[in-house]
Symmetry: C2
Subunit: 225 residues, 2 copies
């Protein structure tokens, strides 16, 4: 069997499990976010800022794809439930089966929001549906304005793009308008926020958007009951 056929089969099997995961999340009325970025773009910092920004009335949990356990510790320090999918150094993405296994010991029941931090990689995670409701891609401005063109698949599938570390834009010689234009060229529909977890710029708008998404999810859930 050729390599392409093997990959096709792997992706097909993944899709079946992702569909099961998605059914479970929808049944529970849980908004699930698949958070993706290159290494060091600020996924965990963005999670921390998001958890601080959301009211405590929300029931939230976090799944971390991480070899070290450091990220889960940071989330637990904020009083939020967190589960580590222990990846090894050669695991380049989370897949739907890993998430399904995690849910066996980390139940989703009653959650308003489940945030899944994927492995730091702008390529492979784009191909693996986890069953999420929304795909959020973080782009650190210091990576350069042309990144959306180079990693077009990832930016194309994003529902939300967060341009992070905007406090480094001037020092990095980055024009935020050019970066956003490059995002728009590969994805005209994505919601884009320019944020900085260091200065707090833009976080209120992102958290308000997320609050609306959780509310819409609940309304859909109530309407179905």
């Amino acid at each position: 069997m050729g390599r392409v056929s093997v990959l096709t089969n792997v992706l097909k099997a993944n899709q079946e499990i992702a569909t099961e995961n998605r059914r479970l999340f929808e049944r529970e009325g849980t908004l699930v976010i698949n958070l993706m970025s290159a290494p060091g773009a600020g996924k965990t910092s963005l999670l921390e800022a998001t958890l601080r920004g959301l009211e405590s009335r929300y029931r939230i949990a976090v799944i971390e794809g991480d070899p070290t356990g450091l990220d889960s510790q940071r989330i637990r320090a904020l009083g939020t439930r967190s589960h580590q999918i222990k990846t090894t150094g050669t695991v380049c993405h989370l897949d739907a089966r890993m998430v399904a296994h995690a849910l066996n010991e980390f139940p989703v029941q009653g959650l308003d929001l489940l945030l899944i931090e994927n492995v730091g990689n702008l390529i492979c995670p784009a191909s693996y549906d986890l069953g999420e409701s929304l795909r959020v891609v973080i782009c650190c401005v210091a990576e350069g304005a042309e990144k959306p063109k180079k990693y077009a698949v990832m930016f194309h599938i994003a529902d939300v793009v967060l341009l992070n570390k905007t406090d480094l834009a001037t020092a990095s010689g980055i024009d935020l308008r050019e970066l956003e234009k490059n995002v728009r060229e590969v994805n005209a529909k994505a919601t884009v926020f320019a944020v900085s977890c260091k200065t707090g710029v833009g976080l209120d708008a992102w958290v308000a958007w997320l609050r609306e998404a959780i509310a819409s999810r609940r309304i859909a859930e109530v309407a179905r009951c």
Copy 2:
């Protein structure tokens, strides 16, 4: 056949072609560098700075793994031969076969130095030998000091680690000594340089080291003739 067996076979086949590539490079006395990093860590800028720093008496060429062609254009603008391995948005690493194919139309004969810019990814490229002489990993300081721990396989296999964009260290809240210590924890033998392609800091030391590596290669070549 299970997925692990497929991967084992893929890596075994890759190794055979990489060995052939390496024999060719050694026969020609060409020093070959496999340049790897996360997206946006500054591989192309480092290549530009390296090409400017090396004397014009060296015969140098560059292979770019890139979907856009932008990187090859930047290299050619400096008067250096460059070949693009046109990756698609789902190709997460270069492999030995891609390099062997590139060499069919981009001969290595007579080269002192061949620089290969891999796909921006800190995971998959670490598993695929291209036949290179040296593996050089770039880490942008803005990615955070803990990256060597999280991407330990990549940092473990590096011969040289370049801590790049040191001009952003203070603004990013990064202690360069801590970052270097974290590199050392996973790889005590790597040669480490702290550099900035913006300010030029550290580039002379890196280029001097590279010049020595080219010279050693030539001596080995002359001794064998």
